[in-house]
Amino acid sequence: MNLNEEQIERYSRHILLSDVGLEGQEKIIKSSVLIIGAGGLGAPVAFYLAAAGVGTIGIIDGDVVDRTNLQRQILHFTPDIGKAKVISAKEKIEQLNPEIRVNAYQDLVSASNIRDYISEYDFIIDGTDNFPTKFLINDACVLEKKPFSHGGILRFSGQTMTYTPGNTCYRCVFNSPPLPNAVPSCSQAGVLGAIAGMLGTIQAAEALKYLTGVGDLLTNKLYYFDALKNDYRTINLNKSDNCAVCGTRPTITELQDIELPACDLH
């Protein structure tokens, strides 16, 4: 493919990078990413991936924009209150980059639909706010052999890891969703808005690195930060032979929904 003059200008700062260049930009344009959750994490991810020229961006979210979202979900503006988040997100990123295709799915992922959704895309972003869905995304990506970026934020801290087939998965590390009383309740948990941007942009960079094949991903690693203390660390992870989904004798070979209350933090 040959980039036109407008594309050469739009993507000039990528073209200048010796690790990306024309070739890397062409890979980005030909690629597709599914973002699950159009909230605190999904918004900055969608913003940067659209700006980068990811050819097809899918966004899935069942919610509508609420005033409480605006403190951190940077794709949604005050006049969007009441609008479906996926529509609000699509409108913004299409304005940013009219060249890309945006598939907006106003839906919730579940055991019955997630494999169909992710099978269409090259890379998956977990931008969700609850543990059952995080495990569902992990299991679906392992079963479909799809790479994904896990992201989670709470208060002043965030964590992220990148899964690619054959490497440590989220379940290898965290085993199973915590019991509802083991995690902060909705009334106890807050988050500094900027933390969503800090973590989401790391996830966007991981997606772009995967799509261009550049650099080292956060595979077999968990990146964690506490912005309150400015403590940033990378923890090495090992794949578990006993993992229920990717171990030597997996017990999860089909997906099942787990019902647990969600906390609207994402």
């Binding site: 980039l3 200008e9 000039s12 700062r13 073209i15 200048l16 010796s18 024309l22």
Partner: protein, 75 residues
């Protein structure tokens, strides 16, 4: 060996090198690209970036007031 020509006198940094890089990408090894550029910042920086990415500057000539031409051999 083919010869190509590119005028970047109307461009500003960093589009000067972006346009040069894009043009060079279309060439085969050993092909020549003649780039017409302004003195000052473009003449200082474009050849530097060309060398950094592994291509070769064969010649630099002043063609008229403040306008230069450089010949690049693609590696």
């Amino acid at each position: 060996m083919a010869r190509y020509k590119l005028d970047i006198t109307k461009e500003h940094c960093p589009m000067t090198f972006v346009k040069t890089k894009v043009e060079l990408a279309k060439l085969k090894q050993g092909d020549l690209l003649e780039v017409i550029l302004q003195a000052g910042e473009p003449l200082e920086n474009v050849p530097k970036s060309v060398i950094e990415q592994g291509d070769k500057i064969l010649e630099t000539n002043l063609i008229k007031d403040n306008i230069y031409t450089i010949f690049i051999e693609k590696n």
